[in-house]
């Protein structure tokens, strides 16, 4: 039996469980549907055809799906899962025209990323896939941060200095100094603070929290800082990520 670091095992289990709970914009049932759709995309015939096409927009068709999600949401899940390196703002705006709001999109993206990360980790480690989370009843809060502003990304983001007392501590300002927010990617999910927290609470146990990332006086993992960054760069190149 493989022994997994307890902090990471607990963070992944918590992130998985929280997928089934009501979010800010989607219900627990819808969030589990997004998770299921993320897995289904891997065998979608349309996605496979688009991946090999010079331009994904040149291949028409419908995705293999059995969910009740809006078609724009299904398109978002499948493209993010299967061809994220070729996403552009034109594609994103098309989703919005199809009825998928910016906040719904951000929360959906956080779920896709968590499912991709957990499934990839378990496959790489030789562990079986987890069953989908159990949906829990509840009503989305639909609370949008008042200080979110357009400009940095395709959708508005909430900068640390624009956070109000009503917003959760998404940048880990307490007890200080601030632990998140040094890189633009920290802001990416900030339009939905709970989704940002959902992702980063898990991701930091798989990679490194920012203070540990910058501390070269010791190693925090069983592989070195250099090995960690080598792997990160390799994955970014494979996924054609320009960030």
């Amino acid at each position: 039996m493989i022994d997994i670091r307890s902090d990471m095992a607990e963070a992944q289990a918590e992130a998985w469980r929280r997928i089934g709970h009501c979010g800010t914009w989607w219900s627990g049932l819808q969030r589990v549907e997004i998770a299921a759709e993320t897995r289904r995309a891997a065998t979608c015939a349309l996605c496979a055809a688009r991946r090999t096409a010079l331009s994904p927009a040149a291949v028409a068709g419908t995705h293999d799906t059995s969910s009740s999600l809006l078609p724009a949401a299904v398109e978002a899940v499948h493209r993010i899962r299967m061809d994220s390196g070729r996403l552009g703002i034109g594609w994103y705006e098309h989703l919005q025209a199809g009825g998928l709001s910016d906040a719904h999109y951000v929360e959906l993206l956080s779920i896709v990323a968590i499912v991709v990360a957990v499934d990839t980790f378990r496959a790489a480690s030789g562990l079986p896939m987890l069953p989908l989370p159990v949906p829990v009843a509840g009503e989305p809060s639909r609370r949008r941060p008042a200080g979110a502003k357009p400009g940095l990304a395709w959708m508005p983001t909430l900068a640390p200095e624009d956070r109000s007392p009503e917003d959760p501590d998404l940048y880990r300002d307490s007890p200080g100094p601030r632990e998140r927010g040094g890189g633009n990617v920290h802001h990416a999910l900030s339009l939905v603070p709970q989704s940002m927290i959902h992702w980063w609470d898990m991701f930091e146990t798989m990679y490194l929290p920012a203070p540990a990332m910058r501390d070269f006086s010791r190693e925090y993992r069983a592989i070195s800082h250099a090995q960690i960054e080598f792997l990160a760069a390799r994955v970014a190149a494979i996924n054609q990520c320009v960030y």
Partner: protein
């Protein structure tokens, strides 16, 4: 051979192959690359490597699906390197 390679990172070749196998872009089956990496760096090392690969398989999607830009100082510092490696050409494929 420890696979350190010319990048100066211990076991770089084994780590790189493991990443490629995990993301289904390597010729070597995942089980084989996992076993070779474990033999070289141990189970805890393999687990942490799997975690980094998996975490970045998620966060690259977050970056690409939000259009978040690279920080200006980083973009300036890496401009030459990015041009040499052809990374900026990825931008041309976006739609």
């Amino acid at each position: 051979m420890d696979g350190t390679s010319d990048v100066g990172v211990d076991h770089a070749t084994l780590l790189g192959t493991f990443a490629e196998s995990a993301l289904a872009t390597a010729a070597e089956p995942l089980g084989a690359s996992r076993a070779r990496l474990m033999e070289a760096i141990g189970e805890a090392g393999m687990i942490d490597a799997a975690a980094v690969i998996a975490g970045f398989n998620g966060i690259t999607r977050i970056a690409d699906a939000t259009g978040i830009p690279l920080e200006v100082p980083k973009a300036e510092q890496t401009a030459g390197l990015r041009a040499t490696l052809g990374i900026d050409r990825f931008l041309e494929a976006k739609s």
